[in-house]
């Protein structure tokens, strides 16, 4: 008979997953509530979700304080890691989710928000992403990834129109393939090193001087492909435009931020030792990925006719831009990644929210796509404030100072410059220039064209409500006055990233 295993509750460090537990609890709470009382208004669920997210946020702050004092710590048999990057990325995930949830309170009714399950799934999804970033165990990453993804597919489909089903099915199928690739990659690495924890894999590989390099690279390739799918790196990006188009604008905005940051954090953990391994192959592959992703998606974004689809391609481009941080791999670059992503969160979520509030249900003119450029023609005359705000988001995305994203871009380019990636820096700025064109296209439509006849300015804010306005207001204010928060952000992120050894 086996001896019973015993370990103290203390040793588990249960607080390490406290923020995650809270979100899961939130999801369960909503499900249970629904059991007792049906047909509750969505606003209630929004508030409950917000409250749980807020609690999660509070726990995160608590953990951060602890981290700032004591450095990285782990829980559950070293499975759950609380380090700087997991904390920052969880802040981003939870924060972006808090910005997203109020978008459910649109004045028009859409199908997904009529489900309490929507909010439950949403909270489970957040938990999944939180798990994903706070571990370096490939199994746990996989589980977090899958549970989040499964929830996400459902959330997309719940929008309940054929485009969203199509989007969900496409995303799902490709996600399944990516899952296969991921586990295969994990298998290869496991075969070589006998471990599925990244830091152990790293130390074993380094100890063996990367013997059997080809195996290692194969494993890396499979993992990279799976993660690249998640963050939409070309050629694994093909889901992104269709899914963004099929999903509701609010969901698309959310997708452009949260799943990607989770993916980036995993990539960061995985590639942290590889880019410092001195293997030129890694550098070349990442370099090529960065350049191709930025450039090709920019070029495709140029020719889009639908704003949301354009923003989808632009999100791919931004992801490519940020991937360069992984390539550079210095503390400054990793800091820049998070800084960029925080600023990107506000700007991009703002932009998608603007699309969301202009969502029409049944306008004959624009049946085929929700947000064609023509719809925004002459917006400055009919709905000036909305046009100005949208314009600011576009400028920020294009990287025009003093708006938020410029500072992220600047810091990212600086990190490239500092580490000797001069050509990369130049490519990055040239791509920013290309990107400016399509952002400008929307500005041109909004500010320089004549309004479409028979269109009332109301259509641009048809779907708005106080909650949505608040979200947009917050996003706009942060976008405009980002400069004030950059310094504290930068200091915190730098110290967090540096203290977790990235």
């Amino acid at each position: 008979m086996l001896a019973p295993i015993s370990f103290s509750m203390q040793s588990l460090n249960i607080e390490t997953i406290a923020p995650i537990l809270v979100t899961i609890a939130g999801g369960l709470f909503i499900l249970i509530m629904d059991l007792f009382k049906k047909d509750l208004n969505k606003s209630l669920y929004v508030v409950i979700s917000l409250l749980f997210l807020l609690m999660s946020f509070g726990f995160l702050i608590d953990l951060s304080v602890f981290f700032a004092a004591n450095g990285t710590f782990t829980g559950f048999f070293n499975l759950v890691v609380v380090d700087g990057i997991s904390l920052i990325s969880q802040f981003i995930i939870v924060g972006a989710s808090m910005l997203f949830v109020p978008l459910a309170l649109s004045s028009k009714r859409f199908h997904e928000f009529s489900y309490p399950e929507f909010f439950a799934l949403f909270l489970f999804m957040i938990a999944g992403f939180q798990i994903m970033v706070s571990t370096d165990n490939l199994i746990l990453i996989f589980l977090g990834l899958e549970s989040a993804s499964l929830a996400l597919y459902t959330l997309i489909a719940l929008h309940n129109r054929s485009k969203s089903f199509e989007a969900a099915v496409k995303y799902f199928t490709m996600g399944a393939l990516a899952a296969g690739l991921y586990v295969f990659g994990a298998m290869v690495l496991y075969a070589i090193t006998g471990s599925v924890e990244i830091h152990q894999i790293a130390s074993i590989l380094v100890a063996n001087h990367y013997i059997n390099l080809a195996y290692v690279l194969i494993g890396i390739v499979f993992l990279f492909a799976a993660l690249a799918f998640k963050v939409a790196i070309i050629p694994f990006h093909t889901w992104a435009p269709d899914v963004y188009e099929g999903a509701s604008a609010s969901m698309a905005g959310y997708m452009s931020i949260v799943p990607k940051i989770a993916g980036f954090v995993v990539m960061m953990r995985l590639f942290e030792f590889l880019v410092h391994s001195g293997l030129p192959w890694i550098e070349v592959i990442l370099y090529a990925s960065v350049v191709i992703t930025m450039t090709a998606s920019n070029i495709w974004a140029l020719v889009q006719t639908d704003v949301k689809r354009m923003l989808a391609y632009s999100s791919i481009s931004h992801a490519g831009f940020v991937l360069s941080a992984i390539l550079i791999g210095t503390t400054q670059a990793n800091t820049a990644l998070f800084l960029y992503w925080i600023l990107f969160t506000f700007t991009n979520l703002g932009a998608f929210s603007m699309l969301w509030i202009s969502r029409q249900k049944n306008l004959d003119k624009w049946k085929s796509s929700d947000h064609p450029y023509e719809k925004f023609s002459g917006m400055i005359h009919t709905s000036p404030v909305a046009a100005v705000i949208m314009g600011i988001f576009m400028l920020s995305l294009a990287g025009v100072p003093p708006f938020a994203l410029f500072w992220g871009k600047m810091y990212m380019i600086s990190s490239a410059v500092t580490s000797g990636f001069t050509v990369l820096a130049v490519i990055m700025v040239l791509n920013s220039a290309i990107a400016a064109f399509y952002y400008l296209k929307l500005i041109v439509y909004m500010f320089m064209k004549e309004p479409v006849s028979n269109v009332h300015g109301r259509i641009y804010t048809m779907n708005t409500s106080k909650a949505l306005s608040t979200v947009i207001g917050v996003a706009a204010i942060v976008t405009i006055f980002a400069i004030i928060v950059i310094n504290p952000l930068l200091e915190i992120i730098t110290s967090f990233v540096y203290n977790s050894g990235f």
């Binding site: 080809a214 694994f236 435009p241 192959w281 070029i299």
Partner: protein, 636 residues
């Protein structure tokens, strides 16, 4: 004395500004009177200054700093010395008279006020030009007179030819100004200053090459302003302006600025006699060249203009040979008689309703006695008959060229003296004598206003008597100019030469008188002759300029714009943008919306990365084996 200097300088400006106030108003005689009066004031002030300078004084003032930066110091400084006061006298005298004359001449013109504004502005610029104590100030005046010349040539802007001529004059002067400006740069670069005194003190220590260069460059400037070949075409075309303008600007003052520049810089040119010789040679060439064109011209103003050109040639001969005082003296004398000639031509034009072709006139002498007399005086002065001004001013030039052993120059300008007489009296003959051909064309000529004639009278008197002031002038001016005396030895030869010249002149007065005073009809045979055509078409030089400079310039400009700027430079930029856009258009259907192909893309990406990984992994693992295989394949 400073006070008088400022009065002399600024009175014309005040007049100009005063008139300018009325430009938009109807013609008002007041402006003419005020401007003329202020010119008179300026004249008086100049006279006082002359008196002062005559008695050994000299005024040098420093009004204010103009430019002061990085070691460059240029003040608004004015100097009144023997040279400038001479010029001031000429300028103020002629201007004053022309102003008065213009009150009558521009009587019916609606731009009367504007005219006086421009004219006084011109005088002001000219005063700056002659009074400045540095090259920058000189250049201000230089450009200022150019501007006023542009305004006045194009005064009747509704005439296409007038505005064209104005632009031509301005642009051609500008071309010359390039040389001038570079010369000024060079001076500054060499001497570190632009003040005359400092420059001339410093130049001797500069290398001869540089000095030669500076001299040449300044002369290029002078060539433009004084319309020397090959920049001469503007002067004839400038006759599109009102006649008083021609009298003042294109005869008496502005065109002589080039000569003035040489005289002013005599210290410089004395150092470079070879440049001087070139100047003299060019002057001689222009003298005969212009005179030849005047021979056959059918436009009285143009005849006078060519004669001006020719006389400028004389002046340059003198200046080039170092006979600065003679050049200056001829300048003075020429100013008087040539402006008189122009004003006379103006009277004729006035009488003939702006008709200029002398072949349509004839016999005007009966109606315009006074004009005839004045014109004849002026022509005689021009021809150099004893005792008119020309004899005292022009003949010394001929002698000087002889004395300095430049015999070709001598021969050229000697012949030119004859030609001068010829065309002058051809014109007199055609205009004032013979049949009254104008009647065919229905003109009703009349004598000019009394006061206009009165305004001309002093010029007539001066044309007669100025020659007798040669010796005092010599004494006066050689205080600062080199006092070379060109006397032909032996004295008999001198006498002989004088007589020969006079004879030549008389001969060439008599011949056209014979031919044209009784003019019946044009000599058809002669008009078909090659030489006639050549001369009549001004040696085809304007045509040449048009075909070889204006047209190509336009074509090249168009080419630059249409072919280079739009089709290459701009198109390249657009090409980059279009390439990106088209690439996007062509490749966007990589995303064909089919799930199968999306999955294939993923697998393709994976396989590609695998290929890379395996290739690199193997290469990393078996470098020696791969090298061996490659070696077997013949790759080193």
């Amino acid at each position: 004395m400073e006070f008088y200097l400022y009065v002399a300088l600024f009175a014309p400006l005040v007049g100009s500004l005063f008139s300018a106030l009325f430009t938009a108003k109807k013609a008002n005689k007041i402006t003419g009177y005020v401007a003329s009066f202020l010119l008179f004031v300026s004249f008086v002030a100049s006279g006082i200054l002359l008196y002062d300078v005559w008695h050994g004084g000299s005024v040098h003032v420093h009004l204010m700093t103009w430019i002061n930066t990085g070691g460059l110091y240029i003040p608004f400084g004015f100097i009144v010395d023997n040279i400038s006061v001479t010029m001031m006298m000429v300028v103020t005298t002629v201007s004053m008279l022309v102003h008065i004359y213009s009150i009558g001449y521009m009587d019916h013109d609606e731009g009367f006020n504007r005219f006086f504004s421009y004219l006084s502005a011109f005088v002001f610029s000219m005063m700056i030009l002659v009074m400045s104590d540095n090259f920058a100030g000189l250049f201000i005046g230089w450009e200022g007179v150019g501007l006023c010349s542009w305004l006045l040539i194009g005064f009747w802007y509704h005439k296409e030819s007038a505005s064209w001529a104005a632009n031509e004059a301005f642009i051609m002067n500008r071309i010359a100004d390039v040389g001038m400006l570079i010369g000024i740069f060079m001076i500054y670069y060499t001497t570190g200053s632009l003040q005359y005194d400092k420059v001339f003190a410093a130049l001797p220590s500069a290398s001869p090459y540089v000095v030669t260069l500076i001299g040449s460059l300044l002369f290029i400037g002078a060539m433009g302003k004084s319309a020397q070949f090959p920049l001469h075409t503007w002067l004839a075309d400038a006759m599109e302006g009102p006649t008083p303008v021609s009298a003042l600007i294109h005869a008496a003052t502005m065109v002589t600025a080039g000569v003035f520049l040489i005289i002013r810089s005599h210290a410089l040119y004395q150092m470079i006699p070879n440049v001087g010789e070139f100047i003299a040679s060019l002057g001689a060439f222009v003298a005969i060249f212009a005179a030849s064109m005047a021979l056959v011209n059918r436009d009285i103003k143009r005849i006078v203009a060519y004669s001006t050109l020719s006389q400028l040639g004389y002046m340059f001969v003198a200046a080039g040979l170092g006979a600065y005082w003679i050049a200056l003296f001829h300048l003075v004398a020429h100013a008087f008689f040539k402006s008189l000639l122009f004003l006379g031509a103006g009277n004729v034009m006035h009488a003939m309703d702006d008709e200029l072709d002398p072949f349509k006139m004839g016999g005007l002498g009966k109606k315009m006695k006074w004009t005839l007399i004045l014109m004849v005086i002026a022509s005689m002065a021009l021809a150099g008959l004893v005792p008119f001004a020309g004899f005292f001013s022009k003949d010394p030039i001929i002698e000087a060229s002889f004395v300095s052993h430049h015999y070709i120059i001598y021969a050229t300008i000697w012949i030119t003296a004859g030609l001068t007489a010829f065309y002058s009296f051809r014109m007199i003959g055609l205009v004032f004598f013979g049949e009254e051909r104008y009647k065919i064309f229905g003109f009703h000529p009349h004598e000019a206003y009394r006061f206009m004639l009165l305004a001309m009278a002093p010029l007539g008197i001066l044309s007669i008597i100025i020659g007798f002031f040669r010796t005092p002038f010599y004494n006066f001016i050689t205080n600062i100019l080199p006092s070379t005396i060109y006397e032909v030895h032996p004295e008999a030869l001198a006498w002989g030469m004088n007589i020969a010249t006079q004879a030549l002149v008389v001969l060439f007065i008599w011949y056209p008188w014979q031919k044209y005073a009784k003019f019946k009809g044009a000599d058809k045979v002669f008009e078909q002759h090659f030489i006639y055509k050549l001369l009549f078409n001004q040696y085809y030089i304007p045509n040449f300029y048009n075909k070889c400079i204006v047209v190509p310039y336009t074509r090249v400009s168009n080419f630059f714009w249409m072919s280079i700027d739009l089709k290459i430079v701009d198109a390249t930029v657009d090409l980059i943008a279009n390439t990106l856009y088209k690439t996007g258009k062509k490749t966007r259907y990589v995303q064909d919306g089919n799930l199968s192909s999306m999955l294939k893309w993923m697998v393709f990406g994976l396989v590609f990365l695998l290929l890379m990984a395996v290739a690199y992994g193997l290469a990393f693992e078996y470098p020696s084996k791969i090298a061996e295989i490659l070696l077997n394949l013949g790759v080193h």
